[in-house]
């Protein structure tokens, strides 16, 4: 059992200076709990001008994790004019957002997507399989345009997604387990 000084959150409010949290915690720090440990298998590192993206992958990951992250990270190596039309380098924030999204939304058995750089320096993920076309374009790091076409039923939809990811997760579920 440990006693620790409770940490103050990042100073965000004017009245934060008027109080202090109750000074002790009585649970073991999560960093000392075996069950909370992340035992990394490897760290994937993707440098870019002025920074680096680091993704730490544990031993067991779904089969799409490493190849998809490798493809996304590889986009950061593209130089300005990579498409011979003067397109900018790929913005690392888009790459980071795409990594976060696939880890949050994809299922263990989701097929590996195609990773496509866009001429605006962004990222698009695409699936064209089993009669289904799913394209996810990052309009900004936090704003997605999801295009869905089911060639079996003729169903087509296009929607912008910010916080409600249900259209995307439903599409991914269908992609993983087509009826």
């Amino acid at each position: 059992m440990s006693t620790a000084i409770a940490e103050r959150p990042t100073l965000e409010r004017l009245t934060d200076a008027d109080w202090r949290p109750s000074a002790t915690t009585t649970i073991m720090s999560w960093t000392a709990a075996l069950s909370a440990q992340i035992r990394p298998h490897r760290a994937l590192r993707y440098p870019f001008a002025g920074g680096e993206i680091i993704v730490t992958i544990p031993d067991s990951s779904p089969p799409w994790v490493v190849p998809t992250i490798e493809r996304l990270g590889g986009l950061l190596a593209l130089e300005q004019g990579w498409d011979s039309y003067g397109s900018p380098c790929i913005d690392p924030r888009y790459v980071g957002a795409a990594v976060r999204l696939i880890l949050d939304a994809m299922q263990d058995d989701t097929p590996v997507p195609s990773v496509v750089p866009t001429s605006r320096g962004g990222v698009q993920l695409e699936w064209h399989t089993r009669g289904i076309d799913l394209e996810v374009e990052f309009v900004s790091p936090y704003r997605l345009r999801v295009f869905w076409q089911d060639q079996r039923t003729g169903q087509v939809s296009e929607t912008e997604v910010i916080q409600d990811l249900r259209p995307l997760t439903m599409a991914l579920a269908t992609l993983s387990h087509p009826r």
């Binding site: 990042t10 100073l11 965000e12 409010r13 004017l14 009245t15 200076a17 008027d18 109080w19 202090r20 949290p21 109750s22 992340i38 990394p40 002025g50 920074g51 680096e52 993206i53 680091i54 993704v55 730490t56 992958i57 544990p58 031993d59 067991s60 990951s61 779904p62 994790v65 913005d91 690392p92 924030r93 980071g96 990594v99 976060r100 880890l103 949050d104 939304a105 299922q107 263990d108 900004s140 790091p141 936090y142 704003r143 910010i162 916080q163 409600d164 990811l165 249900r166 259209p167 995307l168 997760t169 439903m170």
Partner: protein, 278 residues
Amino acid sequence: MADTQRILPDFTNPPVVEVALSLQFDPIKNLRTPQIGLLWNEFKKDFPQTEEHPPLEPVFERFGVAPKPGRPNVQLQILEAPPIPRCWFLNSAETELIQVQPDRFIHNWRKRQGDEDYPRYETLRKTLQMELERFQSFVDRENLGTLSPNQCEVTYVNHIMLPEGNHHGHLNRILAPVSLQSTDTFLSETEEAKVALRYVITNEAGSPIGRLHVVAEPAFRIRDGQPMYVLTLTARGGPSGSSIEDALQFMDIGREWVVRGFAAVTTIEMHRTWGRKT
């Protein structure tokens, strides 16, 4: 503008000490430290003091992403050098604050000591609207990018001094959903309790548009060491469109959830203490 005049719970002496209205938007890539310095000129007359703080991480209320049992944890770090700070513009009395970073604009107001009146929401909203319009004009004039709101936050911070003879184990005297009852008699009285609750905010169609977070944290007042609870209610969610007016409309919804939520989670006993009027 939404109907902000609907009758909401009202108190003669509410424990609110601070209100913050926050707009989060897609990062404005060219809004870097020098440009934030230029922006200060727009507000310098009323906010003559500055401070720099670490930037806040973007926060989203996500729906449709369920935790995946067995999914390995993956850590992702994006290291950028140098990070752009969150700049504070403070008024002389240090009762009002504008916080700016490439993806946030926040206005905080705090109650002055001994002043029982706090700015009413309608006043704060109007001020924020003028500031956001000024900010948008600046972004347009300097060709910095586009202001595209993606999340809005309404936060009310309440300092609740514990009733006479009570301590941090008596949170059930303040919050109605907390019973602090044990199944048997093994445990003695609770020494301390802290609580975090969250509720889904829905629109008229029943679709989720955000969440109300209620956090009660045991604390001590710095000036006299008195035990207290810091009860923070934050309503966060996405605006229905990408205009400032759309963002303000979510703020109206968020404010209503905070005010109604505050009355709903606090006890009748505390309502009497604060003089509930409606």
